[in-house]
Amino acid sequence: MVAQNIAFGIISGIVVFSALRMVTTRNIVHSALFLVAVLAGLSGQYVLLAAEFVATTQVLVYIGAVMVLFLFGIMLTKAPIGKSMEMTGTQWPIAAGVALMLGAVILYSLIDQFGSDRLTEGGKIYRTADVGDEVFSTYIIPFEAISVLLLAALIGAIVLARKD
């Protein structure tokens, strides 16, 4: 378990650092790249939680598709190279206050509630096949709803982005 704790520590450090840099950096492309780091780190955390399918999906969908889409969008909206533009609004102190307040209350309740609950060790590990079974039996209707949602999003995006 030690190795996993060390891995968790290193990855979380990277993730939190990247997340902070993502919301503070003045360069939008850098911001996106930091988000990539966050997502990759989270993928690692999923592996620690024995959710390899979610981890792989995270890489494929988020890093492989969503982030590329973001970079695409950034480049299409002519992101300049360099730190010329101010990226943070004037009201950032309020935002920081709200975020800190929210963070404080969530952290307090988490520690209060779960304290030092250990993750079940040696419990049942669900592999990819189990996830598939569950999706296609219990959650078949949500799954179909998601496919309809994706289709609607596809059409919606095309309609919105068309020139004419």
Partner: protein
């Protein structure tokens, strides 16, 4: 490993995401911060699923990823439309609903 490790990581990321949504001027960055928040939720899902030995946690994480992908598609399309109409994606420029 403690359950709280993951939950706290999720909480911290969520709050950073909230900050990003509230403080960043660029619409694309706001969208990215929303992605961060969704991911923070995801790690909670998977962690709780692991803790309670149910597979639903992973399933819902997958659903959230799918929904997030759809959201990015539509969100970016809207941003592109804004950029085309206003040649700006600064969210502070969009205050037509000012009271």
């Amino acid at each position: 490993m403690l359950l709280n490790q993951f939950l706290i990581l999720g909480a911290v990321l969520f709050c950073i995401g909230v900050y990003g949504v509230l403080a960043r001027k660029n619409a694309v960055m706001v969208l990215m911060s929303i992605e961060l928040m969704l991911n923070a939720v995801n790690i909670n899902m998977v962690a709780f699923g692991f803790q309670h030995e149910v597979v639903s946690g992973q399933v819902f994480a997958l659903f959230i990823i799918a929904v997030a992908a759809a959201e990015v598609g539509v969100g970016l399309a809207i941003v592109l439309l804004l950029y085309r109409n206003q040649t700006s994606i600064d969210v502070e420029d969009f205050d037509l609903m000012k009271g």
